[in-house]
């Protein structure tokens, strides 16, 4: 962390401690003043939040205890009493001492613990368990540790089918779904088909509403949690269905009818019925109104994607086999040459430097 930022924090923290002290002294005469309570809370909230960001973890952890109490004071659950003010003033002195001695001698552990215990008693008197102190060096929720994966060996290329339906008001949160699709593309080979079936006629269309859904087929070795992480900010505004539809090494690809049935876009019975008519399946399903052209296109895109991935994998395997054959040939030829070379070079073994005598 930049030293300038730490210095700025220290200056700011001293100012906030002065503000905290004056708010506390005023609260002695006007204990119900919400502005003063808010001021005291914000001072501690900032000292805690910024302190943790700039490496003052001891200050952040200690201040968190007092902030927790003042959050409850702010909500009217704990009253402002002389005891609370006196404890907070003592805590303020200890925080100042920690700032004065940052990098040096800290206040004694028992002194801090006494104050923390006294604050915790106030919280317990409110009928709640005290909250856990903040973790230093925490991270954004976007990078929160994902739950353990239940699938497939780590590092394996897996093909996923991802169906995305955003809530209509997604744009009102400043979210651009296309950016999320771009982020998915960074995970691996990706085929994306827009589902435009819900777009209404122009005269009733709301221009600020999102009507489009997306079907994505993604082949990646990053695992399902990497996919979920991309949508962390929109998980309550996006219906997302993720299915693993194939792993590396599988050779067959599914037929269009199988994909549509798996996706729930057509029933097994309908597909069987239509197959009897001997026309391209997608065309017939659309003609009969069983599914829509978008859904057929999307299923075909999935079929193509999987075919492409498998062909690539087979090509890689074939390439490796050829490479191995070439290698074996060259080993055989090379060993012949080395024997020949050894004969000509006399006492030196092949690969060793020859010293002029």
């Amino acid at each position: 962390m930049n030293d300038n930022h730490r210095e700025t924090f220290k200056e700011e923290a001293y100012e906030l401690l002065a503000e905290l002290e004056s708010a506390l002294l005023e609260l002695e005469t006007t204990p119900d003043d919400k502005d003063l309570i808010g001021k005291a809370f914000r001072a501690m909230h900032t000292i805690k939040g910024s302190g943790a960001m700039f490496g003052f973890d001891d200050i952040a952890e200690f201040t968190h205890e007092i902030e927790t109490v003042f959050d409850k004071v702010r909500d009217g659950r704990i009253p402002v009493t002389k005891t609370l003010i006196s404890l907070t003033l003592q805590a303020r002195d200890l925080i100042k001492m920690m700032l004065d001695n940052s990098g040096g001698e800290a206040p004694s552990e028992p002194a801090l613990q006494d104050i923390v215990s006294a604050f915790r008693k106030l919280v317990l008197a409110d009928g709640e368990q005290p909250s856990a102190p903040p973790r230093a060096g925490g991270c954004s929720s976007a990078q929160a540790s994902p739950p353990p994966e239940q699938e497939i060996s780590p590092g394996a290329q897996v093909t996923y089918r991802i169906r995305l339906a955003f809530s209509g008001d997604i744009f009102a949160t400043g979210t651009n779904p296309l950016r999320l699709l771009d982020e998915l593309r960074t995970l691996g080979e990706c085929s994306i088909t827009a589902d435009t079936n819900c777009i209404p006629y122009l005269d009733i269309m709301k221009p600020e509403h999102c009507y489009t859904g997306w079907d994505v087929v993604l082949t990646t070795d990053k695992g399902i949690n990497a996919i979920k992480d991309i949508f962390i900010f929109v998980e309550d505004r996006c219906e997302m269905k993720i299915d693993a539809i194939g792993t590396e090494g599988e050779e067959d690809h599914k037929k269009l009818g199988e994909i549509l049935v798996e996706r729930g876009d057509a029933s097994y019975e309908d597909v069987l019925q239509v197959l009897k008519e001997k026309k391209p399946l997608g065309e017939m399903l659309v003609e009969k109104g069983i599914t829509t052209p978008d859904k057929v296109d999307s299923a075909l895109a999935e079929q193509e994607h999987v075919k492409r991935i498998r062909e690539k994998a087979q090509g890689r395997e074939e390439g490796l086999r050829k490479q191995a054959r070439r290698h074996m040939q060259s080993v055989r030829q090379g060993s012949g040459k080395r024997r020949y070379g050894a004969e000509r070079e006399g006492p030196h073994r092949s690969g060793e430097p020859s010293h002029p005598s």
Binding site: N2, H5, T8, G38, R42, G49, M53, C139, G174
Partner: protein, 121 residues
């Protein structure tokens, strides 16, 4: 043209760190000390994104989010909240008000840039 981001926080040290980090990453930065200050700087600012603290005097983060979402020119811009782990209920209020996402304090410069790039590109 580099994108312009407004950082709103009553903590000078956080504003300084956010501003420094974003400038290093190639963004332009406009600073505001609270929600009221942010709103007064919004018109004509040409900003593409807001990063806002939640607990601030005068106008807090949730109030600012609501006001930006009601603004004719800036209603669709991404807004990221800077929250602490103990602020779950306030984070929820912010989301309901129309926040795009959040970053949990304490965060480091790499995490900040990652979230900005995720949302803004």
């Amino acid at each position: 043209m580099s994108k312009r981001i407004m950082t709103v926080d009553d903590s000078a040290s956080v504003r300084q760190m956010v501003s420094f980090t974003l400038k290093q990453a190639g963004y332009e930065v406009v600073e505001a000390i609270d929600g009221k200050d942010a709103l007064s700087k919004l018109d004509g600012s040409g900003i593409h994104m807001v990063l806002t603290d939640l607990n601030m005097p005068n106008l807090d983060g949730t109030g600012l989010i609501k006001a930006v979402r009601a603004h004719q020119s800036y209603r669709f811009i991404p807004i990221i909240m800077l929250t602490t782990e103990s602020q779950e209920s306030r984070k929820l209020e912010g989301k309901q008000a129309g926040a795009t996402g959040w970053i949990v304090k304490p965060f480091n410069p790499e995490q900040l840039v990652a979230v900005v790039r995720k949302v803004l590109g």
